[in-house]
Amino acid sequence: MIEATGLTKRYGKTLAVNNLSFSVAAGQVTGFLGPNGAGKSTTMRMILGLDNPTGGQVTIGGKKYHDLKEPLRTVGALLDAKWVHPNRSARAHLLWMAKSNRIPASRVDEVLETVGLTSVAGKRAGGFSLGMSQRLGIAAALLGDPEVLLFDEPVNGLDPEGILWIRKFMHRLAEEGRTVFVSSHLLSEMALTASNLVVIGRGQLISQSSTEDFVSRAAENTVKVRSPQLAELRDALQRASAGVVAEANALVVSGMDSDKIGEIAAANRIVLHELSPQTGSLEQAFMQITGDSVEYHTGLDAEAQHVLESAK
């Protein structure tokens, strides 16, 4: 549905997005994952034709955004909830947007109802809380009943209730058969919402796969084993070339699944008290994968070192 090929954006000397190619399948929630500053927002702005790519192109359903007639009916987007005139009422904000793409005014009340803002529709948008602004932004995105929806960090800064609401909403949109492309810097959040992931770091594609694949590849699986014959078990496992780390009263085995460990233990007549597969935390895994590509990572480390040394 969304197809980016060789997308590149350069601001002066900095390369914000570098030769990025990916595709977003129709009728699914696709997560757009990357650390802050990886180029997610820039990419989204290019999809919407707000920023001109330095190179490459991006199409929506085979068309460039500029070639869409009444684009709000095809693509709805929430890039920043605060992109509203603070003195304009929520209804007036939606009304002018609707008018610009020949969307009937009755649709404005419909979307306000959908996001639960009917009671404050006449109030100044500037007085809205972040959660309410976010809902207004979603109402604006839904205005044209679009097939494709883009959300940039929609849960950023929201309270748990707001996050849950957004998460459920995304699922609902996908169930209705819409294409949802949502960015986040939190893998744990994406694991709950997205079925596919486009992962970028420093403006470059790191991987595109199903969320499941990414998560299982990301998390290095280990198995925790407890046994009264720890030393024997350790030798046996090391002979089978598994990675073994000793913990208090237990071994943490990597590079071997629990079935195999159990079989080895049985073959050596070793009693096991515990044999439990451990799944690594998603955030850890994500950091591992994007670690090299975090923009300010190394700079920060060096700076911290510098500050520490000068303090001595």
Binding site: D51, Y65, H66, H85, K99, S100, N101
Partner: protein, 253 residues
Amino acid sequence: MNLLAVERIKLFSTRSPWWCALITLALALGFAAIFASAQSADTPVTLSATLFGGTQFGIAVVMVLAALAVTTEYRFNTIRTTFQAVPHRSPALVAKAIVLAVVALVLGELAAFGALGLGMLMRPNDGLGLHSSQDWMNVAGLGPVFAISAVLAVALGVLIRHSAGAIALLLIYYLAVEELVQLIPKIGHTIHEWMPFNVANKFLRGSAVIDGDGGGPAPSDSPLSPGWALAYFAGIAIVFLLVALGVAKKRDA
């Protein structure tokens, strides 16, 4: 037509245009009243003095109104939403310029005829009224001059994007630069003859020398005929608007 409605909704759903409109009318009527009451009874008040508030200060406020209509969109990033809805950008900006021109036109006519009416009411014996085509141009012409000034301000708003910057530039230019240019030796006066607001004044007031101390601003020294003066003023606004459209189209929103 749709886009005109869009810009109309945007303009009137915030407060600053209403305030600017009120201030424009208050200045036009207020100065008419001041001139009418301050002038001694034996010197008649002239038409251009009656219109002083509108022609001198009203334009400035109308330009602030028009510039703000654009710069607040950049300030609050609604310009991005606008360009998202209208990806070709120019139609949206042209619609904005048209809506502001129409609003300025209506304001100009209200200000001018309001001031004239007030003047006639307060000085019934001074012969104020629409006696010649020049008088008509002086009064009814305020609307078109307001409209063209608004288009100019929209263009500058698009180019500069910041409220404070755009307003400062417009006001300093309007209130100081055109006058100060005359201080340049030799060529100063020639340049001044072609400065846009000076030329606009030619359309409004012609070159008739106002004798006595009837008050009001000095006539324009532009060599153009009133009709050509208006065309020249409009031409400058359109050139600025075209440049602004070109820049807005290329620029990242």
